[in-house]
């Protein structure tokens, strides 16, 4: 079931979702993660999505249902999932509700601690991930450069033909 037929609204909904996620991080004392979440995801990644959705246009896609009766089945299944989750959560007795949660060490979630974790404790993993991103970036540049040069070849060949 798709509530928002317009792709642009769906992208906006995703942005609001990412902002809400940052709010959840804040509640968990992860202020650095929350800020990074907003700057990287809501600020940089979603900008590209918004670009594409805005350029492609507000054409409301006629959506067909791959499964017959999907529109009626989907809310039922969602309701069933809600009931199941409610049973699971209430089954714990919500005993943690009145407590103050785990005691956090001082400076938890601050940039200092995140930096120590990333650059000292998990240095190898961190560097491996950055290598992966570098390879991806170089790959993207190569692909883009190749398609552009093939365009130029086409343009040169045209007058000859």
């Amino acid at each position: 079931m798709i509530a928002l037929r317009n792709a642009f609204y769906s992208v906006l909904a995703l942005i609001v979702h990412l902002l809400s996620l940052a709010g959840l991080f804040l509640l968990l004392q992860g202020e650095f993660i929350a800020a990074a979440q907003i700057v990287v995801y809501a600020g940089a990644v979603m900008v590209l999505y918004v670009f594409v959705a805005a350029y492609v246009g507000a054409a409301e896609e006629p959506l067909w249902e791959p499964i017959p009766g999907q529109r009626f089945l989907a809310p039922l299944l969602a309701a069933a999932l809600l009931v199941e989750l409610a049973i699971a959560i209430l089954g714990t007795g919500l005993s943690a509700l009145d407590s103050k949660g785990p005691t956090l060490p001082g400076g938890f979630g601050t940039p200092t601690q995140v930096g120590n974790l990333l650059l000292e404790h998990f240095l190898v993993v961190f560097e491996a991930a950055s290598m992966l991103l570098l390879v991806a970036a170089v790959g993207a540049v190569t692909l883009a450069a190749r398609s552009r040069s093939s365009d130029e070849v086409d343009r040169v060949e045209e007058p000859a033909a």
């Binding site: 642009f8 906006l12 942005i15 902002l19 940052a22 804040l26 509640l27 004392q29 202020e31 650095f32 929350a34 800020a35 990074a36 907003i38 700057v39 809501a42 600020g43 940089a44 900008v47 918004v50 670009f51 805005a54 350029y55 001082g106 400076g107 601050t110 940039p111 200092t112």
Partner: protein, 333 residues
């Protein structure tokens, strides 16, 4: 009492924070009209004409007349616009601008409360987080207006903001590494010996150029280039909604100036007793605002491809180099 954003630093009572929020709102909403009249008077001087001089003594009541005019205009939206988004977009820009002001320090902790909204440990990331939300205010405004000029302006604003945000962050990174902290209060405290404008002069220049681009001010006011795009993302706006965009631009100018003062000009440091600290900050901020207006009156608008190549081919490598050199120097010394 623990607050999510403030539990590792100086924590204040909730009512103090509420009072501070109201004070920040009141101060910035009093400063913006002053800036508009200052800008128009200065532009008049720069262009050898009078500027506003009819309303009140020396034309000083001009912003009051402007505000009354804008507020009393008809609420209007084009038929092609999407009303909800069209209405909410100017509010987003104003909100993010004012929210960013919360972290600007106007003085250290004096008599039990800090002369800043809140001293967050993530510091400048807060500024960048709200900056990236502000972008949606421009983009939604342009997109929801349902007009081609607005849309083109919004797209330009978007491309410009993401191009220059990186250089801006890297420019500040040098000062952050020297101070060893993201918190704006600590950065100012670290400048008690020497202001970072001297060791971080390259970073300062990059920050200022990127700041002009971030605030969409001349010579980088391409999103609202009136010769090509009528008024860019604000084309279809009228009344106080247009006024909100204009107001947000002044608030952002103020914020960028305040961040520059905090990171490069020693924040509240200055001669005289402690109670002069906020005065020093304001004086330095207004010096920057004067620079903004001076540049607007002096430089012509750049072309769009010049703007992009300046951002990506000059500022970004320069900022990266600055960060690398600073990192090596900080590690060695």
């Amino acid at each position: 009492m623990t607050l999510p954003l403030a539990d590792t630093t100086f924590v204040e009572a909730t009512w103090i924070l509420v009072v501070k929020s109201i004070v920040i709102f009141a101060v910035i909403f009093a400063i913006v009209p002053m800036l508009t009249v200052l800008e128009r008077k200065l532009l008049g001087r720069f262009q050898a004409r009078y500027g506003p001089n009819r309303v009140g003594p020396f034309g000083l009541l001009q912003p009051l007349a402007d505000a009354l005019k804008l507020i009393s205009k008809e609420h209007y939206h084009p038929r092609a616009a999407i009303p909800a988004l069209y209405y909410i977009a100017p509010a987003i820009v104003v909100f993010t601008g004012v929210a960013t002001l919360a972290i600007i320090p106007f003085g250290n902790v004096q008599e039990g409360f800090g002369l800043y909204g809140i001293d967050v440990p993530i510091g400048i990331l807060y500024f960048f987080a709200f900056g990236s939300i502000a972008f949606y205010g421009l983009l939604l405004g342009g997109w929801a207006s349902g007009s081609k000029y607005s849309f083109l302006g919004a797209m330009r604003a978007a491309a410009q903001l993401i191009s220059y945000e990186i250089s801006m962050g890297l420019a500040l990174l040098g000062a952050i590494m020297m101070a060893g902290s993201l918190s704006l209060v600590s950065v100012v405290e670290a400048q008690s010996q020497v202001w970072y404008v001297i060791p971080q002069f390259v970073g300062f220049l990059i920050f200022m150029v990127a700041g002009f681009a971030e605030t969409n001010r001349a010579p980088f006011d391409l999103p609202e280039a009136d010769a090509e795009l009528v008024a860019g993302y604000g084309t279809e706006y009228g009344g106080m909604r247009y006024g909100s965009y204009a107001m947000a631009e002044y608030i952002e100018m103020f914020v960028i100036s305040a961040v520059a003062v905090t990171f490069f000009l020693g924040g509240w440091h200055g001669p005289g007793p402690g109670f002069l600290d906020p005065i020093w900050v304001i004086v330095k901020i207004f010096a920057f605002l004067f620079l903004f207006m001076w540049v607007r009156a002096t430089l012509p608008r750049v072309r769009y491809d010049q703007l992009m190549s300046l951002g990506w081919k000059i500022l970004l490598p320069l900022a990266t180099l600055n960060v690398l050199v600073t990192a090596i120097l900080v590690t060695v010394t």
